[in-house]
């Protein structure tokens, strides 16, 4: 394929993706404005026909997907302009986006399964874009295996619901809700949380996201994982529930959040770090949903709505900052030609806009004020600490534990994000700078546009979350019809309880005080003169050398020691000697690897079960022909007994 034809393909794919994203976003906004949109074509899909319908819940997820897809579609011009790929990959991008938009629109179980599987298959093919690389093949294999196991769980549970539904429609005016049994709940929750990248079926995430092309990682990590949350909301949280379901969701969520934050802390691969951060943030979202479920079943409706608001706002915040993080990380990787944080450095000078974007995204990921991730986590925390003293014993046990674990998670992720930004972007340059390759203008403009749009969206959402208030109101009204959704204005407050916050006020205070402090320092310096810097007693050394500065391993080392048991970091030092006696060392290579203990345990368990099962089957096949005939006879008898 020659260059000009490739460029046409790339532009066409990008424009097409943009078009699909705009169409999806427009449909979502129309729905939020009160339109009732549905489409029924009976002949288009086999078995059940095509039935699409958007309600406020679908609209929320479609709007998020559409927003991310707009940024990703613009960014793909920059990315695929540099990393030339096949027409097949380019053609898959719009299909993937369309599938992600259609899953929440699916009105029947059949359509849901169909679009879910299209989404899974296209994303698997996109992960395998660089299939010549063995790491990519490995990641793709993991992804396909996990996604199919997840789909099998969802299929099994929702097929049961479908069999008991009179209409086959997903909400079907409550027809499926009565039969949502414990088994169905646990199976579908496992399937949906697997897609959302939560424990225990999460090992694909940290493998697949780094290996996929960056626009695909951004779409997967900011939009596709949300679809898992959509499934949990649509299927698992729709009907009457039991309180232990909420406890299970909180347990899964907090375990994933803590696990993700810990692993993000010790990852030095920038994309893997972001993937773990996805796992962690989605863990927080499912924790909030679990708290909502638990509080609702115990009739603390007002606090439950705060938890729900936390979940929805964190969902929006996460989608915004994670897409920005992946796209700006993609620019940083292109600029420094490495994914290793330890080999980046001084990116703030080499790629200003991408560094700024990455900084804004990191601030969002820390969950601190001024970041897009703050408001959702704050609301969740409010919901957790507002447990009344008259609450059942279960709540009084679960909630304080959840608060403690959430606080630990936030601490760990602040450390992880500080490391990612400090070591990767702000530190001094370690590796001699790669020559800046001249890129086509269009690519540069596209990359800058995508990042600027997302930075703007992040900052606006972080300071004035009330712009999503109509969206939140519609979704909350839909989920809790008789409830009284909390009021999100310029300051968020919940009247019957104590607690209010105004992110805009915090923003003004922080920025204002920063300006005042800056001015005072400047004035002080002007009056006193700058303090001359001089070499202290330095043992004859000069200025600190580049290798003396902190790297990502040394940054995380203290925490790594504390959590050594959970992380299982393995260190190897390979030493080559020049002489047989081993006195002269030629090379010394230090390697660090960490075992994913959840995946290892899970795989070992599954392997053991399969081994046991097959040995049982083997024992039933001793090679005696008369025994086989006996099996046949018993089978025949059973058939006769069953059919009589």
């Amino acid at each position: 394929m020659n260059a000009s034809s490739y460029r046409i393909w790339l532009l066409a794919s990008s424009v097409f993706t943009l078009g699909i994203a705009f169409a999806g976003g427009w449909l979502a906004i129309a729905t939020l404005n009160g339109a009732h949109l549905s489409l029924n074509v009976n002949w288009l899909l086999p078995l059940a026909g095509l039935h699409l319908r958007i309600d406020p819940l679908s609209a929320l997820f479609d709007l998020l997907t559409a927003t991310i897809a707009v940024a990703a579609a613009i960014y793909m011009i920059a990315y695929f302009g540099r990393h030339v790929t096949t027409r097949f990959t380019l053609a898959l991008m719009p299909v993937f986006v369309a599938a992600m938009l259609l899953v929440p629109m699916a009105a029947t179980y059949y359509d849901f399964w169909f679009f879910w599987e299209i989404m899974a298959v296209t994303s698997a093919a996109l992960v395998l874009t660089n299939y010549r690389d063995s790491a990519t093949r490995n990641a793709g294999l993991y992804y396909i295996a996990y996604t199919q196991v997840g789909f099998a769980l969802i299929l099994a549970s929702t097929a049961y619901l479908n069999a008991h539904s009179t209409t086959g429609f997903l909400d079907g005016s409550g027809s499926h809700l009565a039969v949502l049994s414990n088994t169905v709940f646990v199976l579908s929750l496992l399937g949906f949380t697997s897609k959302a990248g939560l424990l225990p079926l999460s090992s694909w995430l940290q493998l697949a996201h780094p290996e996929a092309p960056t626009p695909v990682s951004a779409l997967m990590s900011a939009a596709m994982v949300n679809i898992g949350i959509y499934g949990a909301l649509r299927i698992d949280l729709a009907g009457p529930q039991q309180s232990w379901w909420g406890v299970l969701m909180i347990a899964i969520g907090l375990a994933s959040a803590l696990y993700g934050a810990l692993h993000a802390l010790i990852s030095s691969d920038i994309k893997r770090l972001l993937a773990f951060s996805t796992s962690e943030n989605l863990g927080i979202i499912i924790t909030a949903l679990g708290a909502y479920e638990l509080l609702r079943t115990t009739h603390f409706v007002i606090v439950a709505e705060i938890a729900l608001a936390g979940a929805i706002l964190h969902l929006i915040g996460h989608a915004l900052f994670k897409s920005l993080a992946f796209i700006s990380a993609g620019q940083l990787i292109d600029q420094s030609s490495t994914r290793d944080l330890n080999r980046m450095g001084n990116m703030i000078r080499r790629a200003r806009l991408a560094s700024t974007g990455y900084g804004v995204a990191s601030l969002g990921a820390t969950g601190l004020p001024l970041g897009a991730g703050f408001i959702g986590e704050w609301l969740l925390l409010q919901a957790l600490i507002h447990t009344s003293t008259s609450a059942p014993i279960l709540l009084r046990i679960v909630m304080p534990i959840a608060v403690a674990l959430l606080a630990l998670t936030v601490g760990l992720k602040v450390a992880a994000m500080t490391k990612a930004f400090g070591i990767g972007v702000l530190s001094r340059q370690r590796v001699p700078g790669s020559s800046e390759t001249v890129r086509p203008t269009l690519a540069r403009v596209a990359g800058a546009t995508a990042i600027s749009l997302l930075v703007l969206a992040n900052l606006v959402f972080a300071t004035v979350p009330s712009i999503v208030a109509p969206l939140y109101q519609r979704v909350a009204d839909y989920l809790v019809p008789r409830g009284r959704p909390i009021d999100i204005g310029f300051s968020i407050m919940f009247m019957p309880l104590k607690g209010a916050i105004s992110p805009l006020a915090i923003f003004i205070e922080v920025v204002g005080s920063a300006i005042v402090v800056g001015l005072l320092v400047e004035r002080h310096i002007r009056l006193q003169g700058r303090i001359p810097s001089a070499d202290l007693w330095n043992c004859g050394g000069g200025a600190p050398r580049i290798r003396m500065q902190y790297n990502s391993a040394s940054f995380a080392q203290p925490l790594e020691t504390i959590f050594g048991n959970a992380l299982r970091v393995q260190e190897h030092t390979d030493v080559d000697h020049a002489d047989p006696s081993g006195l002269i060392v030629t090379t010394m290579v230090y390697r660090r690897s960490r075992a994913d203990i959840i995946a290892t345990t899970l795989h070992r368990l599954v392997g053991a079960i399969i081994g046991q099962g097959s040995s049982l089957v083997r024992r039933a096949h001793p090679g005696n022909i008369r025994l086989y005939i006996l099996y046949g006879a018993i089978g025949l008898l059973i058939i006769f007994m069953v059919t009589r």
């Binding site: 096949h621 001793p622 090679g623 005696n624 022909i625 008369r626 005939i629 006996l630 046949g632 006879a633 025949l636 008898l637 006769f640 007994m641 009589r644």
Partner: protein
């Protein structure tokens, strides 16, 4: 005439039980021949009663293949076998009798719902087909020699045929021909395999085959 027709299924069941009980291969083959003749007589007698040419042709085919050809082929194979030392079955006569009785009763019980809805007396005796199938399986299970198992296999097929005929009173002629020809080929192949087993292992005890299984 109708009494003769009623007697045929009884003859089939009797021969089936006796085949399952007898230990000697030659007498089993003779019983199988009687059974085949009985199976052929059934459509022939019906044909005389109903003046149907198609039934008569089917009966002649049944008689010649199941009554004469197959037992003849089997007898030829048996005559070539060496005199074997070990007992030919794993069960003694008394327990075989008990087992056969139990199998017949089980077949009858399994068919109770079906026999209730049928109206003709002949169709009500169609459980005998199933009994023959189970007796055939019993022969397959207790015989240690390959030829004995061929007898069991033939009896299963006779049972299926009996059931088909009694339940519907007349299987389409072409189907009958096809099935019977298939059966002839199967028996030819099995006889050839038995001969090879005799040459290779000096016996046809299938228990020895388990040594070939990959453990």
């Amino acid at each position: 005439m109708s009494i003769l027709i009623q007697l045929c299924p009884a003859l089939l069941l009797l021969t089936g039980i006796l085949i399952a009980v007898f230990r000697d291969l030659r007498s089993q083959t003779s019983l199988l021949r009687i059974q085949g003749i009985g199976l052929g007589l059934l459509p022939l007698l019906l044909a005389i009663e109903q003046h149907s040419v198609a039934l008569a042709i089917a009966g002649i085919i049944e008689l010649s293949i199941r009554g004469i050809l197959l037992p003849g082929l089997l007898m030829r194979t048996i005559k070539r076998l060496p005199q074997e030392q070990d007992p030919a079955t794993t069960r003694n006569t008394a327990s075989s009798f008990l087992l056969s009785g139990a199998v017949s009763v089980a077949a009858y019980l399994a068919f109770l719902p079906l026999t209730r809805v049928t109206h003709t007396q002949l169709a009500q005796s169609s459980f005998i087909g199933l009994a023959l199938v189970f007796l055939g399986i019993q022969v397959l299970l207790v015989r240690r020699q390959a030829v004995g198992q061929i007898i069991g296999f033939l009896m299963i097929d006779n049972g299926i045929d009996t059931f088909g005929f009694l339940a519907t009173l007349g299987v389409p002629f072409v189907l009958e021909l096809g099935v019977s020809l298939d059966l002839v080929f199967v028996i030819l192949i099995l006889a050839a395999l038995t001969n090879r087993m005799v040459r290779k292992f000096e016996g046809t005890d299938v228990d020895e085959l388990s040594e070939l299984g990959d453990r």
